[in-house]
């Protein structure tokens, strides 16, 4: 229901200027409270955000349940924002409240956690001033044992764009955080089409399965082999339009016709020797550019990505990583190829060079190479990074939040220090 967030690499900052209190009356029970104003880049809008959260870990809080195999956690939160009604023609709620309840259960190798959130009417520019309520449900079921992991996730979001200013859009002044069900992609070309949660409505699910073939087995070889497969799909919610200020009604269990995103991943990780490891990965994506990026384009991009990643350790501190990727698509900017070489000299130095080449662009003048070279030095809590990059345009995503960045070319020196 509430996340205060500062991510300079993404240009996001809605950190709070205010008061935060945490109270733990006894083990297993925690209360939190927060009140303040969110930062909007260099300004602080007058609108106030306040919230409370309570969390109880039953087995810790009730001594005679401490030995129980079933572990139970319960939590609830309430957040409210105040903003003056500044539209003379509308009666707007000045206090917009939202509450959520959550549960997490652990029983041996099984775990289940879920959260349901509800927001009262919150007319805003983002939802075109409809007076609908908002709600969201997110649930995860996981099973893990040695060599096997299974995760099932499901999510439904309806009208949950929640900001401390009803007049802003984009990534500004967001109060809540809506996690995505798809994988957070790390390979460069997989980030060409990253999915971002559609706060105004989406319904999706995902599965992920890991399995490790034991060493010395037929498929495991000398050191074992791990395979992973993942499927994620997200569509619009069902909507029946109303010709009034509520905008639409939606059946909770019905999936809408518009498919926003789909991905299928197969990945094999194989340790070849004590010093080397290879990962071979395939990713299939269907991506709705119009919905996710707001672009005038073909509605859907279908892509196939192949990756081979090889790591070789020269010693316990020095290693080299080579990453070769190829993305095939008939839409958008066509095919891409990428090669990356990274030298890691722990614990201080990392040198990386890579080139992304948009060789399949229909416009031959736009078949650019996007070179990137960087040197990183880490000592203690201080990190120095010097990089030269030609950055392609696209969505830049960190922590599930995405922002469109234009193409750029330049030198960057970054110094970060924790103390």
């Amino acid at each position: 229901m509430f996340r205060s967030y500062w991510e300079p690499n993404l240009g996001l900052d809605n950190s709070m200027d205010g008061l935060r209190a945490v109270f733990t009356p006894k083990p297993g029970i925690t209360f939190k409270g927060v009140i303040g104003r969110q930062r909007d880049f260099f300004t602080y809008p007058e609108n106030v955000v306040r919230g409370v959260d309570g969390d109880i870990q039953i087995n810790d809080a009730i001594p005679f349940l401490s030995g129980m195999k079933l572990r139970i956690g319960l939590g609830g939160s309430f957040v409210s924002k105040f903003q003056k009604d500044d539209k003379p023609s509308l009666i707007l709620p000045e206090n917009v409240g939202a509450y959520a309840g959550r549960i997490n259960l652990r029983y041996g190798k099984l775990a289940f956690d879920a959260e349901y959130a509800y927001k009262i009417n919150d007319p805003s520019q983002a939802n075109l001033f409809t007076y609908n309520y908002g709600e969201a449900l997110f649930a995860n079921l996981t099973y893990t044992q040695k060599g096997l992991g299974i995760r099932l996730s499901a999510k439904r979001v309806d009208n949950m764009d929640y900001r401390s200013d009803r007049g802003v859009t984009g990534t500004r002044l967001l109060i809540n955080y809506l996690p995505a069900v798809n994988r957070q992609q790390t390979y460069r070309l997989a980030t060409l089409y990253p999915y971002a949660t559609q706060a105004l409505g989406e319904m999706g699910g995902s599965t992920e399965i890991y399995y490790t073939f034991k060493p010395k087995s037929a498929l495991g070889g000398e050191y074992g082999t791990t395979i992973m497969t993942n499927f994620a799909g997200v569509s619009d919610i069902d909507r029946k339009n109303l010709d009034d200020t509520l905008g639409y009604v939606s059946d909770f269990t019905t999936i809408g016709d518009d498919r926003f995103y789909q991905e299928v991943t197969f990945e094999v990780t194989k340790k070849l020797s004590k010093k080397s490891k290879v990962i071979v990965s395939y990713l299939y994506q269907i991506y709705d550019r119009v919905k996710i990026e707001g672009k005038i384009a073909e509605k859907q991009v279908t892509s196939h990505l192949g990756v081979v990643e090889y790591t070789y350790k020269f010693s316990s501190t020095n290693s080299i990583r080579v990453d070769l990727e190829h993305l095939y698509t008939e839409q958008d900017r066509g095919n891409w190829a990428m090669a990356l070489v990274e030298f890691d000299m722990a614990p201080h130095w990392t040198l990386t060079v890579f080139d992304e080449w948009n060789y399949g662009n229909d416009d031959s003048k736009k078949r650019f190479h996007y070179f990137n070279g960087s040197v990183n030095y880490v000592k203690g809590g201080t990190r120095l990074s010097l990089s030269w990059a030609r950055q392609r345009a696209g969505l830049l995503c960190v922590g599930g939040v995405c922002r469109f960045v234009p193409a750029s070319n330049g030198l960057a020196l970054t110094v970060s220090s924790r103390f």
């Binding site: 306040r50 409240g97 007049g167």
Partner: protein, 281 residues
């Protein structure tokens, strides 16, 4: 009571009134209709920066129309097609080939630093961003409160417009009578624009390409430059008559849908002092 307990209690107390659920009605009749008689009333200028390939822009168009329904002819709207959102597709493309752009709209969008911002954006009365010397660039959700703020101010000047049109050579003439009712200590300028209403052409609306979209209040050009003629500082009681002539452009503009808009602005703050609009013919 410990400090953190006290803080939590205070926050919880503040949350007790944390929900204003509106069950309806959702609207009010606020907004003020036109004032009759001979009284000079304050009109308000709303400039909507837009483009035919901007999928979110129709939301702003609808808001402008909604506000016009509330405030009537006292709200004068200009749709300025600018930035890459207004770039036409190459001839032969199935849609978005029409060029809505013109130098006046582009100059205003550039000078007020709207170029490069995510459209739609708008300016109300070219008002200053408080505490700065720059104009306030607003998302459409913020327009109404500013329109309401300006429309309830006391007018410092009044404008009357008389027009004529020669369909032979497409010359438009605007005769402007300006009456100053309060001292205008900063120098002022008078700009006269021509605007075409209800152009039917393609527009992106969400993920849909709408073929017969009705483009309202499209700024086509100016009769006397982007920011008009410098009139200097004017004292209360001053009455001026100005006449401007220019040719209707572009070639396909329909004179039957043309409006003349006269805007009096403060040369220092760039804010609008008064605005008026009449139909060309």
């Amino acid at each position: 009571m410990k400090l953190h307990q006290l803080a939590l209690s205070a926050i919880t107390a503040l949350l007790i009134s944390g929900c204003d659920k509106i069950e309806g009605p959702y609207g009010t009749n606020n907004g003020g209709g036109p004032i009759g008689g001979d009284t000079i009333v304050q009109n308000v200028l709303l400039e909507d920066f837009t483009g035919h390939t901007c999928q979110a822009c129709p939301n702003a168009h609808r808001e402008a129309t909604r506000l016009h329904d509330i405030y009537g002819d006292r709200l004068i709207i200009l749709a300025l097609h600018a930035d890459f959102w207004a770039d036409p597709y190459p001839a032969g493309a199935p849609y978005f080939t029409y060029d809505f752009r013109n130098p006046t709209a582009t100059a205003i969008a550039t000078d007020f630093n709207v170029i490069g911002q995510p459209f739609p954006k708008g300016m109300v009365h070219r008002m200053l961003n408080p505490g700065t010397s720059d104009q306030l660039i607003l998302d459409w959700a913020g327009w109404e409160s500013k329109v309401d703020q300006w429309i309830n101010t006391v007018a410092k000047a009044g404008i009357e417009i008389a027009t004529s049109y020669d369909s032979g050579n497409k010359n438009m003439t605007a005769d402007i009578d300006l009456k100053v009712v309060s001292d205008l200590t900063d120098p002022v300028s008078l700009a006269v624009y021509f605007v075409e209403d209800s152009i039917v052409n393609w527009q992106k609306d969400g993920s849909t390409n709408v073929q017969n979209y009705i483009h309202r209040h499209v700024l086509r050009g100016s009769l006397n430059g982007t920011y008009g003629e410098d009139l200097g500082a004017l004292t209360a009681g001053t009455e001026l008559t100005k006449s401007y002539t220019g040719q209707l452009t572009p070639a396909d503009a329909d004179a039957a849908h043309i409006y003349i808009v006269a805007i009096l602005t403060n040369n220092v703050t760039k804010e609008v002092i008064q605005v008026e609009e009449v139909k060309l013919q």
